[in-house]
């Protein structure tokens, strides 16, 4: 079995995407070096930038167990961690990132917090504290809570309001939520100051935020360029280039990198160079990818001419904050709160127009499907993730109902290779090509633009 399921990573189509792995390695190496030097290190969840920039401004190096889980999966070395977590009683229906992290942490603790030598990419050092985030997912609460107890380190959970569509448009709802988030951040800073015994360097934070926004503006421009036909970049490119904007957008190297990504993609758009040579179909991918088998998307491109034009709402930067929210705000914490809130609610208007709930994970696809002229949606429901799964079935139905765009469903997991069946994926995609052809005709008859 081990022999059969050999590594199948993607070749990627952008040169910059091939170089993006540097940032993941830099992040992990940075935390290990800091740990060696006795400097503070923390583990953070993806928090849609709410607490991580603040943490870094306090001089703490961060690494991200979710990113580490994706990395372990991509080199097909997650299974030993998953097995170790499961042998400790963790059910295999728990989030793949969490299981990988729990298995890894158990090994770390059993090795007296000396990183085990066989840890992929050098491993994550023991954290001073854990930064959790209440956005999106219920499993993440218990995951860091249990890790905190296990490693005997403090856990700080940033609550993140999950606003319903109707509520978003109610009176002072947005104002109240932002106020709540700012208060959360103030308390978080007080926690950090107490933990480290030093005060926040506000100038440092403002400087980092400045770089952060510049990086994200470029990342957003890249997203807009990807509307072009043929598609200048595909999902496997994005899943590489996202590392700097998702995890370290305040790093000047990330900003430089994104300028190069933008230049490369712009050149391809200007010269009508497609990411794949024979683009026949344009698909969306929802939502979390099978990190262990990204090479399969290269195969779909080669066999059927499928370009995955856009993907994974949750990893993308939002559109820039409106000017009055960005430039009229002097408190950096309010700026952060507004931006993170904006990420989750910028498509609320689309959700309202389409009479749908929730906004997150669903409404963005109603926009993507038109903007990126999608012929189909590849749904990847995860046995271990509810938020990124139940919404997919909703999206699938809505895309068909409102846009006559069909979907293909291939079950799997982000990290756990053992529940992904490549043959099944190929056989479903092969049949799905005809389905996309059929619905192109249907859309044409019904007067859709693509």
């Amino acid at each position: 079995m081990e022999e059969k399921k050999k590594k199948k990573s993607s070749a990627k189509t952008l040169q910059t995407a091939r170089e993006a792995g540097y940032f993941g390695k830099k992040m992990l190496a940075g935390t290990r070096q800091a740990y060696e030097e006795g400097k503070p290190v923390a583990w953070s969840m993806v928090d849609w930038w709410m607490g991580s920039t603040i943490t870094k401004a306090m001089g703490i190096e961060l690494c991200y167990p979710e990113n580490y889980g994706a990395f372990c999966a991509s080199v097909r070395k997650a299974e030993p961690n998953l097995d170790y977590a499961e042998s400790d009683g963790v059910p295999n229906t728990i989030c793949g990132y969490a299981r990988n992290c729990i298995g890894y942490t158990r090994k770390l603790k059993e090795n007296n917090f000396i990183i085990p030598e066989d840890s992929p990419s050098g491993g994550m050092p023991k954290p001073l504290f854990l930064l959790a985030c209440g956005a999106v997912c219920d499993a993440r609460y218990k995951w860091f809570q249990s890790l905190g107890r296990y490693m005997e380190v403090p856990v700080w959970t940033l609550e993140f309001p999950q606003t319903g569509v109707n509520e978003y448009f109610m009176g002072d709802n947005k104002k109240d939520n932002i106020k709540f988030m700012v208060q959360e951040l103030r308390e978080f800073i007080a926690f950090l100051e107490n933990l480290l015994g030093k005060k926040m360097d506000w100038d440092n934070l403002s400087g980092k935020l400045d770089t952060f926004f510049k990086t994200h503006e470029l990342a957003h421009k890249v997203d807009l360029l990807r509307k072009s036909v043929p598609s200048p970049a595909v999902c496997t490119d994005f899943w590489s280039i996202m590392i700097p904007h998702l995890y370290m957008p305040e790093d000047p190297e990330a900003l430089d990198f994104y300028q190069r990504v933008y230049d490369e993609v712009k050149y391809k758009v200007d010269n009508k160079i497609g990411a794949i040579p024979n683009e026949k179909y344009r698909m969306l991918f929802g939502e979390l990818p099978p990190w262990h088998t990204l090479g399969i998307f290269d195969e779909f491109a080669e066999k059927y001419g499928v370009a995955f034009a856009f993907e994974s709402w949750n990893y993308h930067v939002p559109s820039p904050l409106p000017d009055d929210e960005r430039y009229g705000i002097n408190d950096p914490l309010e700026l952060i709160a507004r931006y993170s809130y904006h990420k989750f609610n910028e498509h609320a208007q689309v959700a309202r127009e389409q009479c749908m709930e929730p906004t997150l994970f669903t409404a963005p696809y109603m926009k993507f499907v038109k903007d990126y002229k999608a012929d189909g949606l590849f749904c990847h429901p995860l046995i271990s993730c509810r938020p990124a799964t139940y919404t997919l079935m909703h999206v699938r139905n809505l895309l068909m109902e409102k846009f006559k765009v069909p979907s293909v469903v291939v079950e799997g997991d982000i990290v756990d290779l053992r529940v992904f069946n490549e043959e099944e994926a190929h056989s479903k995609m092969e049949a799905f090509i005809e389905t996309m052809d059929h619905y192109r005709e249907v859309r044409k008859k019904e007067g859709f633009e693509w």
Binding site: P406, V409, N421, E424, S427, K428, A431, F432, T435, Y439
Partner: protein
């Protein structure tokens, strides 16, 4: 006159058909017996012999199924979902939905008027929804799989299986036998459990008015009746449900070749 062959080399049975421009000239079905290559070669030879043709006379060969790649002569491999769709469209042009219960998987395929795939729901993770469970329970009951259908039609008080899992269904069947439950009631209960799963899949794809049922499962009259009743349709069943994939493979090979090779 163009001659085309279609082969469907499944996990349990190898099926072949030979067609001319319009009609099926011959077909054969034989068990795989653990050797895909031998079964594929033999079933083609047998079908050629029945049609009174030689391999060289064939203009195009299409193949599908798990063991399609084991066919040694030049052929075109085609996805089995598409083949089932085309095969059913050839036999029942009015059908807009196909339910296929094979050994490895169950599928609900929605068809366009040309027999192309408009949607497809596949249950291939779970043996309880596929023909495999029929084999498992036949073995537990120590009867031939072909007897399941007839026996189940005699049931007056079908058992309700409390699980959707084939492993547990097997255990449950053993328990019912030990309790003295009639064999026909156990089989009818099994058919009902399968029908419910398939109904769920058909609903997901939005049930169509005219539905066909094919694959090895469609040879089981009890299952045909149970699925028909559960989804509330009179199912169109081919005279020989095993060969619809092979028919589709022959038709699609010619479509894809554009002109004879």
């Amino acid at each position: 006159m163009l001659y085309k062959a279609g082969l469907d080399i499944g996990s349990v049975m190898a099926k072949a058909v030979i067609m001319d421009d319009r009609d099926i000239l011959s077909y054969s079905i034989r068990p795989i017996n653990g050797n895909f290559a031998a079964a594929a070669g033999a079933v083609l030879e047998e079908t050629l012999a029945k049609a009174g043709l030689f391999l060289e006379k064939l203009d195009v060969i299409g193949s599908t199924g798990l063991g399609a790649s084991f066919l040694s002569c030049p052929h075109m491999e085609i996805t089995d979902v598409a083949c089932q769709g085309r095969g059913i469209n050839y036999l029942f042009p009015s059908a807009r939905m196909v339910i296929e219960v094979g050994d490895q998987s169950s599928r609900v395929i929605k068809l366009t008027e040309k027999g192309k795939i408009a949607d497809c729901i596949i249950n291939d993770r779970c043996a309880a929804g596929s023909g495999r469970i029929l084999q498992i329970i036949a073995k537990v009951l120590r009867i031939n799989i072909n007897e399941l259908g007839g026996l189940s039609l005699k049931s007056t008080n079908s058992v309700r299986f409390s699980t959707g899992c084939s492993v547990f269904a097997e255990t449950e069947a053993i328990s019912r036998i030990a309790e003295g439950t009639k064999m026909e009631d156990i089989i009818a209960g099994l058919h009902y459990a399968m029908a419910i799963k398939i109904y769920g899949m058909a609903q997901k794809a939005k049930l169509e008015d005219i539905c066909a049922f094919t694959g090895g499962g469609a040879k089981n009259l009890g299952l045909v009746k149970m699925i028909g009743e559960t989804i509330g349709k009179n199912l169109l069943v081919p005279e020989e449900p095993f060969i619809t994939g092979a028919i589709g493979a022959a038709l699609m090979a010619l479509e894809k070749a554009g002109s004879p090779c």
